[in-house]
Symmetry: C2
Subunit: 579 residues, 2 copies
Amino acid sequence: MKRSCYIGELGEAHVGRTVTLQGWATRRRDLGGLIFIELRDRSGTVQVEVEPDSPAFAGADAVRSEYVLEVEGRFRLRPEAQRKGGLGDYEVMASRVAVLNAAKTPPFELDKGDAVAEDIRLKYRYLDLRRAEMQRNLILRSKAVAAVTRFLDGEGFLQVETPMLTKSTPEGARDFLVPSRLNPGEFYALPQSPQLFKQLLMISGIDRYYQLARCFRDEDLRADRQPDFTQLDMEMSFVTQEDVLELQERLLSAVFRDVLGVELALPFPRLSYREAMDRYGSDKPDLRFGSSFVDVTDLFRAGAFQAFAEAGAVKVLAAPELTRRQIDELERVAKQNGARGLAWLRRAGDGFTGGISKFVQEQAAALIGRTGVQEGGTLLFAAGEWKRAVTALGAVRLALRDLFDLAAGGPPFHVSWVLDFPQLEFDEASGAWTYMHHPFTAPHPDDVSLFGTPGQGEMRAQAYDLVLNGFEVGGGSIRIHDPEVQEKMFAAIGFTPEQAAEKFGFFLDALAYGTPPHGGIAWGFDRLVMVMAGAASIREVIAFPKNNRGADLMAQAPSPVEDAQLAEVGVAVRDSGAV
Amino acid sequence: MKRSCYIGELGEAHVGRTVTLQGWATRRRDLGGLIFIELRDRSGTVQVEVEPDSPAFAGADAVRSEYVLEVEGRFRLRPEAQRKGGLGDYEVMASRVAVLNAAKTPPFELDKGDAVAEDIRLKYRYLDLRRAEMQRNLILRSKAVAAVTRFLDGEGFLQVETPMLTKSTPEGARDFLVPSRLNPGEFYALPQSPQLFKQLLMISGIDRYYQLARCFRDEDLRADRQPDFTQLDMEMSFVTQEDVLELQERLLSAVFRDVLGVELALPFPRLSYREAMDRYGSDKPDLRFGSSFVDVTDLFRAGAFQAFAEAGAVKVLAAPELTRRQIDELERVAKQNGARGLAWLRRAGDGFTGGISKFVQEQAAALIGRTGVQEGGTLLFAAGEWKRAVTALGAVRLALRDLFDLAAGGPPFHVSWVLDFPQLEFDEASGAWTYMHHPFTAPHPDDVSLFGTPGQGEMRAQAYDLVLNGFEVGGGSIRIHDPEVQEKMFAAIGFTPEQAAEKFGFFLDALAYGTPPHGGIAWGFDRLVMVMAGAASIREVIAFPKNNRGADLMAQAPSPVEDAQLAEVGVAVRDSGAV
């Protein structure tokens, strides 16, 4: 190869040497008869200088933005006054500038990409990806893939590919369907996750499995979802929850070390689901900052303030001094998240003013004592049914984080485990018990006896979520391997054996042929990389993402197809009236 | 974890130590009051012995085939007379046998899996995968993935994921279609390959890309095809064909070394397409054995044997002594592959008997001299239009290989490059020129001037195939990056600029914004692993394959779905009459 090295690899050692570089012209300027070209490749940018009498001049003179160049020249230090640090200390005095390809003028200025409408960036994604930020994101992602592969291969995990064309199941999210031409009237589904297949691999004796699995869910796309996404999927046999957590901690540490050079402190802190909800109002709390809730239910229990006295829980969050307008905005957040309102107080001396201050005179001292609220500071209350109250206040906590940049003072990355999720949830809508994770999640061994009792809502699952900076980046569980426990689980959620067989058919058959104890986890790989890269959206760490209508604006997918293509696979577009 | 180590890791160092093992009972025998259990995990099998007075006896007594066990006991050498080599030299004297899970009697005996109908194996794939051979295949495949990742990451390749839901294009094979719910009446296509996206990544400046890409083609499934398959996809910028070949040779060598401990000789031998066809009748010749064709066109040119005198080419292949029945079978093969017949001769002294012997008396000495056919040996002839003749004789050559196990005497793995494919082919059916690889393949720089001339059929493409033991395991090319060359290519295959834009739209736009010289290759990963594993079918190296009706017999996919699901995505099943 003609290239001496990537631009980013240039340094002191190359000074005085002739180098050959290849890349794109970010910018070309003419100054005092000289031509200056900023030459860029994926690793960095360096200035190329061309003198009027240089044999490189004719080539350089033809250069426009985004031309593809091969440059040969002497690498040297710039005059001391002009050094800008890093590669900016150096320049290439060109002896040859060859235009390998010309370029049309790009539809937007690449170094102003941040300010460009995202639709334009997505339409010209191949240009958007030339931006340093996007290159950095894709490089980071690739390094994470290599780090994961290296670690898991070293730990005896086998990479196994699971089917992409599989069976539609009524459980979970909506499937993407694929008509089968060889079996007219029948459809494949794209996999929502490899869950059943990875458990089957444990039944097969594969012992340790991993896969960077593409998964598909046809959901209405909220702000930061994609119709297909990538999961780092893992499963292990003969393990306890502790075994899984320990290995995951070493894996995530290795990834942060290899990719970012960041050392994560081990072991990761652990919170129970109950504790996470109770203190932060979230099962994926952002722990880069404090601001935990204080429980004051008892202070109001026997009091005259009826709204609080009768509430299942009264939680309070101490905030800095807030304007009335900020409080209104936070109340809107609380209401959006299920609260009826957001009671508040402003500390004034030994008491409070504003909001509900006239109802809390008896409790004032205790409130100040328990919350430590500063003079002028605000207390924000949520009261009501416990889960509803803490959830609303949890949303307020995150709004406060964004308002005051509370996370900025903390560590750049905070990882924790959330454990002891409920095994079962009572679904008010259907008036029935249902599973919280999936029906194969194993309960805590101490709680199995609660199945079928009034206390089954208290059962803890052997389920765990990996939380990074307030994002759930991983989730998993120990699975049920004992057919008797599986029967109890189905009974608890109201499935008859026949219904269970209908829904999970061949998988339940497989369980009976010698299933080892096993458990696993899946990482939301796009989201993990997003947080590691400090990006604002998973679209920033996916090379060719869809927009929020599920469209690829560059390739123009989806698109209408010829009716003959549809006829071949045995389907027709429905009349819009029939849809 | 409780497990001391995998069974396959046991050895001399463990003798006398107490070990804890976990796995499946392959077999349990009772002998002289003792119980013997063959305990298996993915790494190997060891004999467990349980004495009648052992605390392990009750547990062991409950054991049946395929029960999941945890065994603790002392690892020791077996009595000298009973040692069987390897792990068969040792046994575990159990102090504890815990049944972790029971198992129903499997529907087939796992160690007789080879003899079981493939449909049964596929239906109970989770049991089939327990067989040592399948475990070995999946382990080998996983090691190959890790080796590829390690090598390419080390060489600066970035792993980038390309879209799974993309645009249907009229080129190439039939697409699998996915109806879009958010865009009713529109469809995604599953990708046939990431070809355009990997070229876009080069336009984006990613410089070096790789991906283990799942690809989809809705073709009629021949013996050894799958509707989806895995490609190791790579692309590099600023490279020549030599750069690509050199890197690929190092990559494949690394994979063979890491996975099999086999050193491939470098550099790989190279054949031109013309040479491969001319000597072996195949563009993916099996070179583990010789048996190349001898050209004898000239011997018959002016002669009286009209069928040979007028043939474009007369090729001869020397074979061992063949029975009349074997010759008939080979003639059937020749005819199936386009020949009108298979002329033959048997050497007898200085002349020939049988077949066309009366027509070759003048040429006898030359035929013996050129072919070196042994006394009693057979000469097999193909005559006619060159490509048709060599193709038919190529099929005969492979039939001879299978008949006489000719490859057995050669190296276990023979890798070679086939180069200099034609840039264009004349398609007799449509009476038009078409591309041989794809329309973005770059021609040899010395041949560009032939575009549009009568000699354009002689143009060589910068395309290359990687051939292993007669299988094409990789193929790629240097791509066109010069818009002028691209225009000439489209003109040569009869595309107007408008037609080109319609078919390749956004990709041609992208090419104009500064495309570096680039090229790449894709490996048929399933096939490569199949050959490395010595397996007979790619189904043996895919965990959950489809059968030749595109069906997953275990998960029962594809399947009918609720009409409501179809209504949501805006399609209906067509009346069978309308299909």
